[in-house]
């Protein structure tokens, strides 16, 4: 089964070359030249992964990401040309799962995509349900819901991160450990990925995200989940 990737990039040559490279790796590629185009494509046929360049004419990459996020938990990788923290963090806050910087190595992009797709699988050897606060986490079913039954929608990355913290409840996990287990990055991965995703989780899970009770920061060490 091949994966469908939506490439949103206004520069035609870059778009074509990325499409070529990804097709060479066995993916099916849809191309969109603008944010609006991308939303139309996605509505017509949802992809498995979406690649969005932040610098788009008209609707910018951030807006496109947010719009996609509102309707789907599809894995999104943003492509940045500048490495401003603002761009990277804003893109992650808007809902992206990961990022690459131009010029990037297509092989690395392929690896990122594979990592994202693999994230669907739950980890082994887990009890069925983790409870904390008024929430129930069921890793194998891929479900997070409140006691009253309402589901809390998460991206795969957020879910994976939560599962990892829950499987190690009351234990501190360092950023490097989380980057490795959730994103597959080595020691030099970008810790901001973890930070922004923790923030996103808190807004979904904590009654008061500014004063977290379950997903806690341990200064100088990392994060931990307290049921």
């Amino acid at each position: 089964m091949s994966n469908r990737i939506l490439v949103v990039e206004d520069d035609e040559r870059i778009r074509s070359s990325i499409a070529l490279a990804l097709e060479g790796e066995g993916h099916e590629v849809d191309e969109a030249a603008s944010g609006e185009d991308a939303l139309d494509h996605f509505a017509a046929q949802p992809s498995d992964v979406v690649l969005i360049d932040l610098m788009l004419p008209g609707m910018d990459g951030f807006e496109c990401t947010r719009a996609l996020r509102r309707q789907s938990a599809v894995p999104i990788i943003i492509v940045t040309a500048r490495t401003d923290t603002h761009d990277v963090v804003a893109g992650l806050e808007a809902g992206a799962d990961d990022y690459v910087t131009k010029p990037f190595v297509a092989k690395e992009l392929g690896a990122r995509i594979r990592a994202l797709l693999r994230r669907a699988r739950p980890t082994q050897g887990e009890p069925n349900v983790h409870t904390f606060g008024d929430l129930e986490l069921m890793p194998e079913q891929g479900l997070l819901r409140r006691r009253d039954g309402t589901e809390v929608h998460c991206t795969r990355t957020e879910f994976r991160l939560l599962c990892e913290l829950a499987a190690n409840a009351n234990k501190v996990l360092s950023r490097e450990q989380l980057l490795d287990r959730v994103w597959g990055y080595d020691y030099f991965g970008d810790g901001r990925l973890v930070d922004v995703h923790i923030r996103r989780l808190r807004t979904k899970v904590e009654p008061d995200p500014a004063l977290p009770r379950h997903i806690l920061t341990v200064r100088g060490m990392g994060y931990k989940l307290v049921p």
């Binding site: 070529l20 910087t101 131009k102 010029p103 690395e108 287990r181």
Partner: protein, 524 residues
């Protein structure tokens, strides 16, 4: 300027004082002399008539009531016989020169000292038929002297006060005129340090300064605009370059995936293309990194890490990116710092290690080892490279900062040694300059760096608050040493309020070179 005013006041007061004094003296003394002479003459007249009328005994003449009253200090010599009206003034008291003069028939006067006091003697020859007489009168000038002394004292006092006042006025004037200059120089320093928004306040209280401040502000406006234009140019260029490079990189990979379908010659061409393209990409990346810090836009992502783990991993990762380095050199970590914590940008540090290892591989015959230890003694080599905390505009040398280290806090030293020819002392500073390649200059082709590696090392180390230098290794090779401050306090600013990141700080801006090591098959 104060000095000028003081000197001026001093000279003026001396001048004025002297003029006043000498003028006063001249007139006072002159006046006294003439009144004395007049009195002497009128008395001489009386003496003459008395002498002509009566006996030639000078005592008798002087005894006459008219003389006695009006000439208390007089001497009369008649035919060589002296007489005087007072005990103090005798013939012998009269100066000899005056006596001789008057004796020869010429009237005259002379000032002299009478018992230590200034006095004036007036002599008049008395013309009486048959007699040879001289009449002298002495007038005391001591009161005049006293007056003049008081005057002199008063003038000196006034002069001193004037000088002091002059000094004060001068000081005030100089402060007032220098204050705006101090302001200007402070503004200039701030601007040179990158704060381009600095302007001088429009001087409202002094019309002379309005011209200076407005032209200064205009100059800074133009400077700022030019720098912003250059920054925009640089970032536009950067964006322009990254796009074709992305396409090139992606298409190259597609070609390389199909290299088996190519003929031998095409495959060779593809090899060359790939090598140079990657080299080109790296050069552009490095140039863009450097130009970013030139314009003062520092993107640092600091995280708190453990020294031992950081260096070990950075050496392994860095060595992987150096062609020709089959395995990473051994890393000796002093137990004292192995678990110490420091704030650093991990990715930059990895780039630093990669650059140093590559440098050792290209020019030093390969890195022999990496050592990590506490910064104990002062360095045994060239003086520290220092810079302002914020990079000056247009500084092309990328020298590291000393601010944290200069404070003397705990620090760690990481050194990369090689067994090559080493770096001669004369070049140890220059080796960190851009495009400086020393002995390697002129060599091109495979196996040579871009010339930017060490200047990037210097720049990365600088923004992390550290320092870097080169010394001689035992055995003659080169030993590049990085010193980084320890501690869990970040060098850069904290992230936005409310951010709750564990033990890290963020500057606006992030860093990545788009080349992160991904572990295939790892994770979920």
């Amino acid at each position: 300027m104060t000095l000028l005013f003081t000197l001026g006041a001093f000279c003026l007061s001396v001048l004025m004082g002297s003029i006043s004094y000498f003028t006063a003296r001249h007139y006072l003394v002159g006046g006294r002399v003439s009144t004395s002479v007049q009195q002497a003459y009128s008395n001489a007249q009386v003496v003459r008539t008395t002498l002509a009328a009566s006996s030639p005994d000078p005592n008798a003449v002087l005894d006459s009531p008219a003389i006695r009253v009006s000439a208390p200090n007089s001497v009369l010599v008649v035919d060589g016989v002296p007489a005087s009206t007072s005990l103090l003034v005798q013939e012998s008291t009269i100066p000899a020169a005056l006596r001789a003069l008057v004796g020869s028939g010429t009237p005259g006067s002379e000032t002299f000292l009478l018992a230590g006091q200034p006095a004036i003697a007036v002599g008049v020859p008395i013309i009486v038929p048959g007699r040879h007489a001289s009449y002298f009168e002495v007038f005391d000038l001591s009161d005049l002297q006293h007056t003049l002394s008081v005057l002199a004292l008063a003038l000196v006092a006034a002069g001193l006060i004037t000088t002091v006042l002059g000094a004060l006025v001068g000081r005030r004037a100089s402060l007032r005129s220098l204050r705006p200059l101090v302001g200007v120089s402070r503004a200039a320093v701030a601007i040179a340090n990158g704060r381009l928004d600095t302007r001088l306040p429009a001087a409202v209280d002094d019309p002379d300064l309005v011209g200076l401040t407005s032209s200064f502000n205009r100059m800074v406006d133009q400077l700022q605009e030019r720098i912003q234009r250059e920054t925009r140019f640089t970032s536009d260029v950067s964006h322009e370059l990254r796009s074709p490079l992305t396409t090139l990189s992606a298409t190259l990979e597609v070609l390389e995936a199909h290299r088996d379908e190519l003929s031998g010659r095409a495959r060779q061409a593809l090899s060359l293309l790939g090598d140079d393209l990657r080299r080109f990409q790296r050069m552009v990346s490095e140039l863009l990194e450097i130009s970013r810090s030139d314009t003062g836009s520092v993107d640092v992502v600091l995280e708190e890490v453990e020294v031992g783990e950081l260096v070990q991993r950075a050496v392994e990762a860095g060595a992987r990116s150096v062609p020709g380095l089959t395995r990473p050199p051994p890393v000796d970590i002093d137990g004292a710092v192995r678990h110490a914590r420091l704030q650093v940008d991990k990715r930059r540090f990895e780039r630093v290690m990669a650059n140093l290892l590559e440098n050792a591989a290209l020019y030093g015959g390969g890195p022999t080892r990496v050592t990590v230890g506490p910064a104990r003694a002062a360095r045994n080599d060239a003086r520290p490279r220092s810079a302002d905390p914020v990079p000056p505009i247009g500084d092309a040398s990328g020298r590291p900062a000393q601010n944290r280290l200069a404070a003397g806090g705990p620090a760690v030293r990481i050194a990369v040694e090689d067994r090559g020819p080493g770096v001669p002392e004369t070049e140890r500073d220059r080796v960190f300059e851009r495009f400086y390649r020393g002995q390697a200059a002129g060599r091109r082709g495979r196996g040579t760096g871009t010339g930017l590696g060490l200047s990037l090392v210097a720049e990365h180390v600088r923004v992390c608050g550290g320092a870097v230098w080169v010394e001689e290794a035992e055995g003659g090779g080169a030993r590049f040493v990085i010193e980084l401050p320890l501690g869990d306090e970040p060098v850069a600013l904290q992230g936005p309020p409310g951010s709750d990141e564990p033990g890290r700080s963020e500057e606006p801006g992030g860093f990545t070179d788009g080349r992160r090591n991904v572990r295939e098959g790892a994770g979920p």
